[in-house]
Amino acid sequence: MTQPPGVVGVGPALGALKLVRDGLRQGLDAPEALIRAAAVLPGDTRRAVERAARRLDGDYREDEWGFDEEFADLVLPFLDFLYDRWWRVKTVGALNVPGHGRALMVANHAGILPWDATMISMGLLREHPLPRYPRFLVLDWAFSLPWVSVAIRKVGGVAASPFNALRLLEQDQLVAVFPEGIKGTGKPYRERYRLQRFGRGGFVELALRTGAPIVPVAVVGSEEIYPKLGDAPPLARAIGAPFFPLTPLFPWLGPAGVIPLPSRWLIEFCEPIATAGYGPEGADDRSLVLELSEQVRDTIQAKLLENVVRRGPAFA
């Protein structure tokens, strides 16, 4: 009774292992043996073991993009911890994101690793009455990496290709982009609240072509998680990475250097900018595209500077 949830006593655990062994000896395959043995475990653990066994049998769903909602749900407790305890994220304006239909979220990008993407997702899942997983356009390079590529696609990331974005928007998905791209994640610490160039406005073309509203998103806090003090281009070249960050902790502390600093975050979803009125042919109008791109950038930049003050000190 006093046992905390998620912890299994030694007795049932040993019993279950014995049952697995017996099952395998009787010629059952691993998933079946696991399911049978799980019967002696307490509720939560039993469900987790049964789910693992089912997945070992190939009994799970992935959509055509490889998004695996069950897998994404599995990492939620960890992201909850980051959201509530580590970064103490506050999310405002979630209702500015349409609850259904196509929409394009455009956010500022900082902090070496795309933790900002996970926290934007969490903000929506937690604060929106009609939560849904956004589909992120992720730097192509990440898809050539073992494990990383699999994890990204399973939680809803796709390679940053306009073809992918168009298809997703045409399927009425919520798509998220970081137009700053690698220039954003790799910006030096002293320029942390300064937005980089927004590419050539490709994201605006996508929105115009599909009539999707643009929702600017300003994220404060990701700038401080890995203060990038320097860069080591020769090391970056050696591993084929776009840059090799030198932070107060990385690479000096080895793997521990990957632990992000616990800054305080504030995420704001701004008012959507409608694009349907321009029609799909607006996508070929360079001046309109650049103008809208600049408008979105200015909106995010202004909100960012405002919210840095609202949030207060990063590490308080």
Partner: protein, 322 residues
């Protein structure tokens, strides 16, 4: 379109024979001719068989008298089998296509070409669009010999179509086919006792169900369109999920070890994996089938996931018998 006369190259293959059978049952098809050195699979009722090698310049004299209006080019080899060297495969694919087109230059009855080509032309790349449409054939360099062969074949047909504006050339780009009665690199791979994978990679794969593959070919004969058309069962499946459905354990290998280990496996009699296939199970590939549905007017009945489940279900009894 009554009274169609159709020639099928590679009629001895599974797809050649199945297509012949389907065309024989079609009242609008007056005559079916099959060209191959191999015998057709199973009995064909009214197909006229021409036993000849497609690489032989002599086929010109054999094709002209048949007065066919449609040629289905099916004799394209997708993987070097135990009986065929990589060299022969290249010869059949490239020289065979060349001889076929040379023969057809001299035959003015032909108005339609339908080619069972390959989606291999798109390659398998980490940073590729998640769904290739027909206009994305040259986004990446052609890396393997088979890709270059397919590239050549497509070039030959493009040139032919340009020289003969009255001829419709349908280039069907097939994803790997999967079917219970079909022996392909894909089915051999999923039937290995232990399935080698690239450590840390779990790509999205896409197949075409054998039934849909034959139907798509027949649909293209009925309703040919100009240019390339992707053929696949819609949707995708993760490699890991496919292997688990097949009930096989995986053997994840570090990429540098992949070639040597699978090479050694081949020497002890397990199926070898071509370079194309090895890239496919590392980075995956999927195509968009809008053109097949809307222009050819054929909607596949299976999704990729269903095709895999169907294959597992139907090939399981054989497995337990063996």
């Amino acid at each position: 379109m009554a009274g169609r006369r159709v020639l099928i190259t590679g009629v001895g293959s599974y797809f050649g024979s199945e297509l012949a059978r389907r065309l024989e049952a079609d009242d609008e098809v007056e005559h079916v001719v099959g060209l191959d050195t191999r015998r057709p699979r199973g009995r064909l009722e009214r197909t006229e068989l021409i036993e000849a090698d497609i690489r032989d310049p002599g086929i010109a004299g054999l094709i002209a008298p048949t007065r066919v209006d449609t040629v289905v080019h099916e004799q394209i080899v997708r993987q070097p089998g135990a009986t065929m060297s990589a060299r022969t495969m290249h010869d059949v694919n490239v020289i065979g296509t060349l001889q076929l087109l040379a023969a057809c230059e001299k035959t003015d009855s032909i108005g339609t070409f339908v080619v069972r080509g390959s989606s291999g032309i798109y390659g398998a790349e980490p940073n590729a669009p998640q769904f290739f449409t027909e206009d994305m054939a040259r986004l990446f360099p052609l890396r393997t010999r088979f890709q270059r062969d397919v590239g050549e074949i497509e070039n030959y047909f493009q040139t032919f179509a340009r020289r003969h504006p009255g001829v419709t050339c349908t280039m069907l780009r097939y994803q790997p086919a999967l079917g219970a009665r079909l022996d392909t690199q894909f089915s051999r791979y999923l039937s290995m006792p232990v399935v080698p994978t690239h450590l840390g990679f779990d790509p999205r794969l896409q197949v075409v169900h054998a039934d849909d593959a034959v139907d798509a070919l027949a649909a293209a004969v009925r309703n040919p369109v100009d240019g390339p058309v992707n053929v696949a069962s819609p949707g995708t499946i993760g490699l890991t999920r496919a292997v688990r459905l097949a009930g096989r354990p995986t053997l994840p290998l570090l990429s540098p070890a992949f070639g040597p280990v699978t090479g050694a496996a081949k020497r002890i009699g397990l199926p070898g994996l071509s370079e194309d296939f090895s890239r496919l199970i590392r980075h995956g590939r999927a195509v968009d089938v809008t053109r097949l549905k809307e222009e050819v007017g054929f909607s596949p009945r299976y999704t990729t996931s269903m095709a895999l489940e169907d294959w597992v279900e139907r090939s399981r009894p054989e497995k337990t018998a063996a």
